[in-house]
């Protein structure tokens, strides 16, 4: 056997070995990533428009959203999850702002950060009217704070 062929076979062997290791690692990462997430759906119905009165926003604890209903402009849905570390914010009517209990982040009524460590504004989610007349929220679909659904 020639030296050249030994070297090239050796190099090919090393490449094959490292490729196998790389593929195995990728497979491990893929294995650890669930194919199905058994989590609450991102698109869900929250009820009839008439369920939501005008005035201060309604807080839906399980969905972690605030539902705003404005007499002129209609419905809007804001996330209640602080963009800092995932705590649930509360809406204070006294100053019309969202306050996070964990690290004191404060968000204005339109979701923008007023104070504290939160890196970005609270997102607003698309709210539409489903065929059955219920309000439907899509958490995967972020809309501008000015978005309103007029019913």
């Amino acid at each position: 056997m020639q030296r050249r062929s030994i070297l090239s076979w050796g190099a090919a062997g090393l490449v094959a070995l490292w490729s196998a290791i790389g593929v195995s690692l990728a497979a491990v990462v893929r294995f650890l990533t669930p194919s199905v997430f058994y989590e609450p759906p991102q698109i869900f119905k929250i009820g009839d428009p008439a369920d939501f009165p005008y005035g201060p926003p309604a807080f839906l604890a399980n969905e972690k959203i605030f539902v705003f209903r404005d007499r002129e402009r209609g419905f809007a849905v804001a996330s209640a999850v602080c963009t800092h570390l995932g705590c649930t914010v509360a809406f204070f009517q006294s100053d019309d702002r969202f306050h996070c209990p964990c690290h004191g982040s404060v968000f204005a009524e339109n979701g923008t950060v007023v104070h504290g460590p939160a890196p970005k504004a609270l997102p607003w989610f698309e709210v539409t009217l489903a065929r059955d007349g219920k309000l439907q929220v899509d958490k995967d679909h972020v809309v501008p704070a000015s978005y309103r659904l007029v019913v």
């Binding site: 650890l32 990533t33 058994y38 989590e39 690290h103 004191g104 460590p117």
Partner: protein
């Protein structure tokens, strides 16, 4: 013929312990004891040199394994059963509350003892040649200890657990490029839910303990290979810390290693190798200080073990491990705090998530790992390494102060409060 004596002699094959040969054979004929040298130096076992922190940490780990296995018998890692099982352990299972208390307090103690051990090794300069890599292994054991404590924190599935892990894993998600991906892999989803509980359980009872056992074996093995427990600084001879000679093949440009200059006798493998062995040498004078591990070392280790177990048991009799309401994703307690050893980080995170969550911890860990390789000073004497000690002390004090602030001085909305003030409505 005496079958009982024959059976006994087939198990215990050493000479009687009244003889030196028996004392030596007790150690090197025994799988578990032979991690000890046959003889140890008395000074290395002085309390004021090591405070036995390494031993205590190891004993705490043994307590954690024992109580942990016991708790597993009554624990199901699924929601909401996990929380019900906690209640059962607390009120129904015989000794359940006591075992859980022991597990919880030993875990906190282990985090503290690993850190104190790390400080002791730094201040005595025991990470220096040839022990650099053992320091690195020790840093990884410290990180694994934090990982074990953190994964265990979720298992009770109460409000404290749920929100500490929510906040803690969100801190990690600030890591650039792969932070969010890592969080998803760790949680098995996007929220702290059933799959997160199961994954934390697997990490807590199988993956991380195995890693700790493996690294601990290497850690102990290296101590033996590097000349046993580190010499107290006051026993170092002046020239040992000052003079260094290169060892290795004389004509070779790069020495195999650098070791203290010494005319001393050396112990090494009886094989044909180049140069001297890299571990420390022992002088004839020091040999006179050496005594048999049995009973000298075993007695002292036994005392440390008893003291550790007794303390953990006593604390567990009087203080209960906390258990709050069942985890409620809809209701954030105010304030929501990470486990106490991460409260320094949370304090930084409350100012800047990227700084406190990613940059500072990454740099701190890298700096810890690099210490033995960046420290150019061969001396272990405190008077020769004032600046190293000062810098390290600042690091320790900043850590402690941040943790104290996060633990005691932060109230609802992460506002600054006095620890003794009662805040109405605070949970």
């Amino acid at each position: 013929m005496n079958p009982i004596r024959d059976a006994w002699r087939s198990i215990v094959r050493r000479d009687p312990l009244s003889t030196d040969k028996g004392k030596a054979e007790l150690i090197f004929l025994n799988l578990w004891l032979h991690i000890h040298p046959v003889k140890v130096k008395k000074e290395n076992f002085r309390v004021k040199h090591t405070f036995y922190l390494g031993f205590i940490t190891f004993f705490l780990f043994l307590i954690l394994v024992t109580t942990g296995v016991a708790l597993m018998v009554y624990y199901r890692p699924s929601a909401p059963q996990a929380y019900q099982d906690m209640k059962d352990l607390q009120f129904v299972v015989y000794l359940g509350s006591f075992l859980r208390n022991m597990h919880r307090w030993a875990a906190h103690a282990m985090v503290i003892c690993v850190f104190l051990h790390l400080c002791r090794v730094f201040y005595t300069g025991s990470y220096k040649q040839p022990r650099q890599f053992n320091w690195v292994i020790g840093v990884f054991l410290f990180l694994l200890t934090l990982g074990l404590s953190f994964t265990g924190y979720l298992l009770p599935w109460d409000q404290l657990a749920f929100w500490a892990i929510t906040v803690g894993t969100n801190i990690g998600s600030y890591a650039p490029l792969m932070g969010a991906r890592l969080r998803e892999l760790l949680l098995g989803g996007h929220i702290v839910g059933e799959s997160a509980l199961l994954r934390f359980y697997v990490l807590h009872v199988a993956v991380l303990p195995s890693a700790v056992v493996l690294l601990t074996m290497v850690h102990f093995w290296r101590i033996r290979k590097d000349g046993g427990l580190s010499r107290p600084v006051w026993k170092l001879k002046p020239q040992r810390s000052a003079e260094l000679v290169s060892i290795g093949a004389p004509e070779s440009p790069a020495p195999l290693a650098v070791a203290p200059a010494s005319q001393d006798k050396t112990y090494g493998l009886m094989e044909v190798v180049t140069g001297k062995p890299i571990f420390e040498t022992v002088t004839a004078e020091e040999e006179e200080d050496a005594v048999f591990s049995y009973p000298y070392a075993f007695f002292r280790e036994g005392i440390a073990l008893l003291a550790t177990v007794t303390t953990v048991m006593a604390v567990s009799l009087f203080w209960k491990a906390p258990l709050e309401e069942i985890a409620n994703p809809a209701k954030t307690p105010n304030p929501a705090k990470a486990p106490w050893y991460f409260l320094g980080l949370q304090e930084l995170v409350s100012h800047s998530a990227l700084l406190g969550g990613v940059i500072v911890p990454t740099l701190a860990v890298l700096a810890l790992i690099a210490i033995p390789y960046l420290d150019p000073n061969p001396s272990r004497r405190p008077e020769d390494r004032k600046w190293a000690n000062r810098i390290f002390t600042v690091f320790v004090v900043v850590n402690v102060v941040l943790i104290v602030i996060g633990t005691f001085f932060r109230g609802p909305g992460w506002a600054f409060v006095a620890p003794w003030s009662h805040v109405p409505g605070a949970e």
